[in-house]
């Protein structure tokens, strides 16, 4: 993992001291709320429905056990004993006192974690593939470049007052687990015929009220020019991005208004004019950071498929977990373990302080002290030996963190919704829980196969409903909450936006509607076909009929 040096520590310490002064000035009335708001937002402090919320960054989803223990400590000491992992590799605390925020930030700084720019109109937490550095299908490790981008974006003097928030995601694998096509800048790493690394850069993706899939702005950027190229994209956005209407201020709007060709022309012109002025990233710095991401001290082991098959046959529950929650590792004899935060009835992404501590211990015992956070609100232990899998599974079972449902129906993504959020129109968490409680039979879940469900409590789309295979959007109609369904969304390398199924449904009717959609899919699917593939083949009509046809859930809004 990346470790701070004296300069990183110094900057974060100065940031905390500055925020402490700002909070003091606000408390003394020297700053108005209007002036203070962007300052607290850029330190991750939101004002929600009932209390202040603090959003903390887990840069590119990489977390050390000591950091997770600190998260647990903060949950216990300053919050109500739990934290919430989000779709952007952040953890949120929902019950923070403003006057304690500087103290929390100081605690976090002691383990090299910050909330800098986790909110506000600036470059947010850099996100990436939770399997970075361990995935078998990886072309190149994105973490080095994520860290370069992290440092580059922290307190950027030119880009701290952008028209709107700005999200960057990087994938080093052709199988995109980082949803780069729905980010303001998405970066795909490639290798050319000489084996050299280059970056395909996409711009203008995003969800919210006007969802867009990103366009490729340049097929190949050399590593030493990556920051300079990103700077040109940001500069053109800073100059041309709309500032007249908050709902039209994201880069996706200006890219689509002027067209990707015009946007590219402006970026290339700035890049050509400026690139000789911008220092290239020296190889020594890339090497210094890369050294932090050297592989851990792997044991020399072989894969033990036969042994695992034997254990699975003896204990089907272990077999199911192995099949759904464990992914292939690039190192022989090792495995990647997904830790489900979606037990039946759980709030997606929520985890108690006790479980955080327990998981930190398991990471120390079985995963070189490292944990990953994915954008689907689950956690990952990235370096587990296959011979430890059974013991780890038993321990996770005890903690209720071993629900074998990764990418299955009950692995629902949900925003916090109207239970917490001041922007929400509807309660998304109860819908997610209803689905989790309806679809509990492990064999049935496995029979249905991979399917993503995403729930957002309003059109701001924090639950990424547009890119769920089944998307659920909470709306408010005349003071009542309804839920609109979309089908066919995806955030992977073949990203697509979902199509609206029909009128909104009452909360109680949502699980029945999901059941009807699933039954329809099971009827129509070809051998081995996933839900999304079937949907793309047959279109929306059969599903409309299944949900709204005679004798089915009634449409009410």
């Amino acid at each position: 993992m990346y470790r701070y040096d004296e300069f990183d520590h110094q900057l974060v310490a100065e940031r905390v001291a500055q925020f402490r002064r700002q909070v003091k000035r606000r408390m003394a009335g020297e700053l108005t709320e209007d002036q203070f708001k962007p300052l607290r937002l850029k330190n991750g402090v939101y004002l929600q429905l009932h209390a202040y919320m603090l959003r903390v960054n887990v840069p590119y989803g990489t977390l050390a056990s000591r950091q997770l223990r600190k998260f647990a400590h903060i949950a216990r000491t300053y919050d109500r004993g739990f934290g919430h992992f989000t779709t952007r590799q952040n953890i949120q605390y929902n019950w923070i006192k403003l006057e304690q925020a500087p103290e929390i930030l100081e605690e976090l700084a002691s383990v090299e974690v910050t909330s800098i720019q986790s909110s506000g109109n600036c470059v947010r937490n850099i996100t990436s593939d939770q399997y970075a550095g361990v995935a078998r299908d990886e072309l190149a490790d994105p973490r080095v470049y994520c860290e370069l981008l992290r440092q580059y974006s922290v307190l950027h003097p030119e880009f701290s007052y952008l028209p709107r928030k700005f999200k960057i995601a990087v994938t080093g694998s052709p199988n995109d687990r980082a949803a780069v096509a729905v980010h303001d800048i998405g970066i795909r790493m490639h290798r050319n015929e000489q084996g050299e690394i280059g970056f395909e850069v996409l711009v203008g993706g995003g969800l919210g009220r006007t969802p867009h899939i990103a366009h490729t702005i340049r097929e190949w950027v050399e590593p030493e020019h990556l920051l300079a190229y990103v700077e040109s994209i940001l500069r053109i956005y800073n100059i041309y991005g709309r500032r007249d209407n908050i709902h039209k201020a994201r880069i996706k709007i200006i890219v689509n208004q002027m067209g990707i060709d015009r946007y590219r022309e402006l970026v290339e012109k700035d890049f050509d004019a400026s690139k000789n002025l911008r220092p290239v990233v020296p190889q020594e710095e890339i090497d210094r950071i890369a050294a932090c991401f050297a592989p851990p001290a792997y044991e020399t082991l072989g894969d033990i498929e036969d042994e695992l098959a034997r254990l699975s046959a003896a204990e089907p529950a272990f077999g199911r977990w192995l099949k759904h929650n464990v992914a292939a590792h690039k190192q022989p004899g090792y495995a990647i373990v997904n830790v489900s935060l979606k037990a039946p009835g759980a709030v997606p992404g929520d985890i108690t302080a006790e479980r955080m501590d327990a998981l930190a211990n398991l990471a120390d015992q079985h995963s070189f002290g490292e944990i990953r956070v994915n954008h689907r609100q689950n956690l990952v232990l990235p370096y587990v030996t296959q011979k430890d899998l059974y013991a780890l599974w038993s321990a996770l079972q005890t903690l209720e963190l071993a629900t074998p449902n990764m990418h299955l129906l009950s692995d629902v993504i949900s925003c916090p919704g109207l239970d917490y959020c001041a922007l929400a129109n509807a309660r998304s968490i109860p819908v997610a829980r209803d689905i989790g409680l309806r679809f509990v039979d492990a064999d049935k879940l496995a029979a249905v196969g991979p399917i993503t469900i995403n729930v957002s409590g309003c059109m701001n789309a924090c639950g990424h409903h547009h890119v769920g295979n089944i998307g659920i959007l909470g709306v408010d109609k005349r003071g009542k909450e309804y839920f609109q369904l979309t089908l066919g969304g995806s955030s992977d390398q073949n990203a697509s936006l979902g199509d609206r199924l029909g009128p909104g449904l009452a909360q109680d009717d949502v699980p029945d509607a999901i059941q009807a959609i699933v039954d329809c899919y099971l009827d129509l699917r070809d051998e081995g076909e996933r839900f999304l593939e079937t949907y793309r083949r047959v279109g929306i009509e059969p599903f409309k009929e299944a949900v709204y046809g005679p004798g089915h859930a009634k449409a009410v809004a």
Binding site: F7, Q22, P279, E285, R288
Partner: protein
Amino acid sequence: VTALIKNGELIEDEFIDASGAEVLPPRGPVLVGLEQWQAHREALLERGDRLGIKLRSDQQPEAIENDVDHFELIALEFPKFRDGRAYSYARILRERYGYSKELRAVGDVLLEQLHFMIRCGFDAFVISDPDPLGAYRAATADYSVWYQPTGDGRPTAMQLRRRRAGEGSP
């Protein structure tokens, strides 16, 4: 108190702000708007006095790319503190066009923003505060470490690391 601070010192504003005025003052350093400059370029140059230009946040510096040598002062306006366009304009003027005279931030300039502005190339600020100089000094002392290379020449964390690594070797 509203005061002009340049390079960390209180100074008198010698420029008469005639941007938007119908008639220019007969003599003395004058600050004009882009429209005035474009309409009365020759007359302004013949005046023989120091000349400043003020750009609104919707006026890109490209409009004066070939003229920057004529100006002793360029003022960039922040209509609202949230409008960050002038940060980019400042860097373009300094780093790309090589403008080296006074670059002044005017309008809604918050103390919290001064360090960003300095790094982008601003050297003069109009500040409203009971103790403008004290407030300026406090606000610009917040940070000593920077990650981003800009034209202000301050060493970045990356450069400091390399320097230190260099010291370590024989």
